[in-house]
């Protein structure tokens, strides 16, 4: 491990030459975790055309990944309640470092890099106290430097804001404890929120939904270059309620909630899987694996612009024109360009832009 760390320190050291770039990893446009037909778990780089640029083995089922802003490094997170995150060199396929959750903490499956890529922020569960924390890791040493409060219970997705100075965290509100598997322990009392934090953990803004929506777990995030936030939710209340599953907001503002048309709401079963923003077109997309449905809404009005059927769709990412979607059946579809490629892989929850 010492050698690997030294290697990583070398990779990251200013002035080290030549430094590998994402081009040398086959120029992937996206990262996604997947399960192969033989049951192995992988992290894959995907080109904009839907081709696989590389595949790297993972020790267990992945969830999301974080792409290093400069170097061809990816951090792949275990699915919650995961104990590991692996830093992978996407050129050589080597595992460079493994981040092990400290005693009493587990990962939730998402993380975000600091603007220079030197630090990684991870959403974690301090489960004996049921407190959400953000772990701060040094990539060069693989060490956990510190942690700060996430601003709520059950932090899930975390993204860096475009100014590079702040983080936005989806505190899903659901208490879990690894002893009870994935059982939800506090549904009647849950209070999800969206927290904007400084990189030092200072709480800058917190946005919660109105009390009747307190069972709407805020889980996944998309951030546009102008600071617009899209958040996807998972409803924990009764399904006859047809709750909004998408929200749009900005730092210091009140969220606008988007409720799908009734017939589609029924199909979605209270569950949005992923969200992506296409700021130039004022578009936001969410996926519904339970409904086999993806929808694109207008970010200004919340009006449904288009929707399409795709079995077990979950991953979504924006491209210059429209959205790319991935499914648990192995398909990758570009909804605007109209192509689909099929792979002998089951694409996992999230499609992460590089």
């Amino acid at each position: 491990m010492t050698n690997r760390r030294r290697f990583l320190a070398g990779v990251l050291a200013a002035g080290a030459c030549p430094r590998p770039t994402w081009a040398e990893a086959g120029a992937p446009a996206f990262l996604s975790a997947a399960r192969a037909s033989d049951g192995r778990y992988l992290l894959c780089g995907l080109r904009a055309s839907g081709e696989v640029a590389f595949t790297l083995p993972l020790p267990d089922r992945g969830h999301a990944a974080a792409a290093h802003p400069v170097h061809p490094l990816a951090v792949a997170f275990a699915r919650r309640p995961g104990r590991f995150a692996v830093v992978l060199d996407c050129v050589t396929g080597q595992e460079i470092a493994r981040l092990d959750a400290p005693e009493g903490r587990h990962f939730y499956g998402h993380g975000a890099f600091s603007p220079d890529g030197a630090h990684l922020f991870t959403s974690e569960n301090a489960y004996d106290a049921a407190r959400g924390v953000i772990g701060v890791w040094s990539l060069a040493s693989g060490k956990r430097l510190t942690e700060f409060a996430s601003g709520g219970v059950g932090p899930h997705d975390i993204k860096l804001m475009p100014d590079g100075q702040r983080l936005v965290v989806a505190n899903g509100g659901i208490e879990t404890h690894p002893d009870a598997g994935r059982a939800k322990l506090n549904i009647p009392l849950m209070e999800p929120n969206l927290s904007f934090l400084g990189l030092d953990g200072a709480v800058l803004d917190q946005q919660a939904l109105d009390r009747p929506l307190h069972k709407n777990s805020i889980r996944h995030l998309a951030v546009a270059p102008d600071g617009l936030i899209g958040f996807a939710m998972q409803w924990q209340g009764d399904l006859s309620d047809d709750p909004p599953l998408l929200g749009l907001t900005r730092l210091g503002e009140t969220p606008m909630l988007v409720t799908p048309p009734k017939a589609q709401a029924k199909r979605m079963m209270g569950y949005a899987g992923s969200v992506a923003l296409l700021a130039d077109h004022n578009e936001v997309a969410i996926t519904s694996p339970r409904g086999g449905l993806a929808q694109v809404f207008d970010t200004d009005t919340g009006a449904l612009k288009r929707s399409f059927d795709m079995a077990d769709v979950c991953g979504v990412a924006a491209t210059a024109q429209g959205f790319v979607l991935t499914s648990g059946t192995g398909d990758i579809t570009h909804e605007a360009q109209g192509w689909t490629t099929s792979h002998a892989l089951q694409w996992d929850n999230h499609l992460v832009p590089v």
Binding site: R79, A180, A183, N186, L189, D238, S240, D312, C314, D348
Partner: protein
């Protein structure tokens, strides 16, 4: 060539039709009438009895009160998997059953009420505004079975608290039943409405009740006290003060077995898996899972957990696909 294909198709039909006949869409109306309504009727009548018993004698050690409490709690456990529709309106089910209580909210809320002699308990209507942690069967268990709460504060206040708790339980039991009888049952029986667009959607709701009920019994009723090998948590066993932890596992498995039989059209393999789990539970001889702290006792509880996992596996890999409910890689991930 075309003729050939037709012949092949026809030849294949008998083979196909056998499993198809076995995989009929479940009779949702029969499940509502034979499983859901009788169980919720029992909850309504037993909880009304409980309210009557508390009104007649509120002493924590009253045999009549404890018997009525046990009967009503039994009736709740038998519907605790049917968490949709009327049970979720106004958080009725949570007000009946606030558990697990990972942060100790119930004793805290009760302690606050009693020490302040909060007059909010004077009327049922007012009591229904207090924290759900201070309401329902699990809060009442503290009042009847926890030595601290049986003696703390003013006796008359405690008596009134027990009585209003029982009345609240009865009110929720009646409200859920009314919700079913006054409309929700028909929404399920006669799909093609905003709640259930097709009979398949209603069947899917019942299938979800089966699988989440099994999950709750395995991961929460057993998983909470099991904790980890290094840190077992016997004090987290459900309703351990009244000695009902194992009883709840058995009662829930019996109710789930009935639902599974109806949903699967009498799948003998599935029923046998329930029988194995229930047999294991009968042999356990550990009513509050105190044994999780010693290796042998722990193994026995883990074995029961494993038997339930086998039922869950059967439900997800065989019953689900037969009902046309595919467990998608992402669709059922829940993350």
């Amino acid at each position: 060539m075309r003729i050939h294909l037709v012949a092949l198709t026809l030849a294949a039909l008998p083979a196909l039709s056998a499993p198809r006949a076995w995989a009929q869409t479940p009779d949702v109306a029969a499940i509502v009438d034979g499983h859901v309504l009788p169980h919720y009727r029992a909850l309504a009548s037993e909880s009304a009895e409980l309210a009557g018993a508390a009104a007649a004698d509120c002493a924590p050690d009253s045999v009549q009160l404890r018997t009525a409490y046990g009967d009503a709690f039994d009736a709740w456990i038998a519907v605790s998997h049917l968490r949709f529709g009327p049970s979720e309106a106004d958080d009725r089910a949570f007000a009946l059953a606030f558990w697990p209580d990972s942060r100790g909210a119930t004793p805290k809320a009760l302690g606050r009420l009693i020490s302040a002699e909060d007059p909010v308990i004077a009327s049922l209507e007012a009591f229904q505004t207090v924290s759900i942690a201070a309401r329902g069967f699990y809060a009442m268990e503290f009042m009847l079975y926890d030595p601290q709460f049986a003696s703390v504060g003013d006796a008359d206040y405690r008596c009134s608290l027990v009585q209003v708790m029982a009345a609240d339980i009865a009110g929720n039991g009646a409200a859920i039943l009314a919700g079913w009888e006054d409309g929700y049952a028909d929404l399920m029986r006669q799909a093609g409405n905003d709640t259930y667009r097709t009979p398949d959607e209603a069947a899917k709701q019942l299938f979800t009740a089966l699988s989440t009920g099994l999950e709750f019994t395995a991961d929460t009723r057993l998983g909470r006290p099991l904790g980890s090998f290094d840190t077992p948590r016997p004090n987290r066993a459900e309703a351990r003060r009244s000695g009902r932890s194992l009883r709840h596992v058995v009662l829930s498995l019996r109710a789930l077995r009935d639902l599974a039989a109806r949903l699967s059209g009498g799948d003998a393999g599935l029923d046998a898996a329930f029988a194995r789990a229930l047999q294991r539970a009968d042999l356990l001889d550990d009513p509050v899972f105190a044994g999780v702290s010693d290796p042998q006792g722990r193994l026995r509880v883990e074995t029961l957990h494993q038997r339930i996992s086998e039922i869950r596996e059967h439900v997800s890999s065989q019953l689900g696909p037969r009902l046309g409910i595919a467990a998608g890689f992402n669709a059922m991930d829940g993350d």
